[in-house]
Point group: C2
């Protein structure tokens, strides 16, 4: 394991640091950001919140726009923001924003040409936490959250790994990708035409099979342009009701799909996770 | 007077809005952002803090990265973020980042080809506040702050207009542009080789001539790469001591020139201004 420090910025008495590393799961060089709160300066180990970003994003959209460091510094939690797909000239890509680089959908692709690199599920659930816990002053307490495609990633990963995370939250997540254009396009490319295989990465399907629960918070803006066609939180909400799953779904009047929405409520999410992490 | 709304995002129960308008001072189309706090939804008029950005920036760097809306919403102040220069295909430019578009230095240029459009001082002090106060639910109470080149702009504009502003603050400002490479290059181009004319836009020179004072706060990171060669806060600090000017200059250990520094202390600045605005 080795990592290369690319940048560091002092922020709210903690440090935001960017690293490159060679990912074995993804077979390429990957970048991530980590915010280390000031508590680690005094020798403390802190729990980690993983943030999964949406389509077209890198690690930087969240670190620059969400305003999360202020709250993380107060709570004493680290935040790790990975990239949204494998990257590089030899990594398969698509000319559209919703497939290929920047659009990894946090799954393990089975179909060529994607299966060579697009193993984001393994990267997020195995390789990255092992790296973070080996290289930084953090505990093995983890929570996970994300936005849009990253909200889908956080929900599916948490639903499949209740033993690895303490809590899960999402802003504007794609909750039923089997039934929306973004998900159908990506799953067809990455997983093939057999929709049975898609169920392993659909939050609604996974929640139907859930044997155990995690605390789950979802925030959704009512003026989100993608709400009806792509996100479908009402589908997940219905499954939660049917299954008795403890989902807290909040609608926020007038908010859209942007980081201005997330900045407005990130404090709630980080405090929600901190309840279960500390 | 007319303005064209380009975007609006709900944020901390207020609204961030972007507009285009035809500027008579600058002789081109200009974009600005305004954050209107939730207090205006109830019919209140609120005071305005003007934010002046640094080299290469537009209105968006501040609105996306500073995390100011949370505090402005709490305090009940609007924030107006203009662009950093005139813009457009017919506006003179330079291939370097520190002259021309994105580098207006908040002055009135006298030298061709710059003098046709580069009248940022008039724009910020006259045209823009008149427009804002005519078109939005704001009072005529104003404060001004900025970063780097925008910190220079805020300080010089406040020092020259103690009657128009209640208070002034800056992050990492260019305090003595006559004596630093950025300032000397820009002033030579925009104002010509006679350095006497430069004194009208140099905070150290203006403070020496100050007949009245304004509350003034400056924050500076000690790990700022531009500190020694370009920013020179110790020069302004010395003038303040000599003149008995009430400057509060704070150095912050380990912080750099980035928005992560500003995000860490923007709450202090907005609360500083709110004391004098409300």
């Amino acid at each position: 394991m080795s990592i290369e420090n690319l940048s560091q910025n002092k922020c709210f008495d903690g440090w935001l640091k960017q690293y490159n590393h060679q990912s074995s799961a993804l077979n390429c060089t990957m970048r991530f950001s980590i915010f280390l709160p000031p508590q680690v300066n005094d020798g403390a180990k802190v729990p980690v919140i993983y943030w999964l970003s949406g389509l077209t994003c890198t690690d930087e959209n969240f670190t620059q726009k969400a305003g999360a460091q202020r709250v993380a510094a107060e709570l004493g939690v680290a935040i790790v923001a990975p990239d949204t797909s494998p990257r590089g000239e030899d990594v398969a890509d698509d000319e559209n924003y919703d497939l290929g680089q920047g659009a990894g959908f946090y799954l393990n692709a089975t179909e060529p040409p994607w299966n060579t690199h697009y193993q984001m599920y393994d990267y997020i659930t195995e390789e990255l936490p092992a790296l973070i816990e080996a290289m930084f002053p953090v505990t093995d307490k983890r929570s996970i959250c994300g936005h849009s495609m990253g909200g889908h990633g956080a929900l599916t990963i948490a639903l499949k790994n209740v033993d690895k995370y303490q809590s899960v939250s999402a802003f504007s997540p794609i909750t039923n990708p089997m039934k929306c254009p973004w998900g159908q396009k990506a799953f067809t490319a990455y997983l093939g035409r057999n929709t049975e295989s898609w169920k392993a990465y659909d939050s609604c399907e996974l929640m139907k099979e859930a044997k155990a629960t995690l605390p789950m918070l979802i925030d959704q803006g009512t003026s989100d342009d993608f709400l009806k066609e792509q996100l479908k939180p009402e589908a997940l909400s219905q499954v939660a009701v049917d299954m008795g799953y403890p989902l807290e779904l909040r609608y926020h009047n007038g908010y859209d799909h942007s980081y201005y929405f997330m900045a407005s409520f990130i404090e709630d999410h980080l405090k929600f996770h901190a309840k279960y992490l500390t």
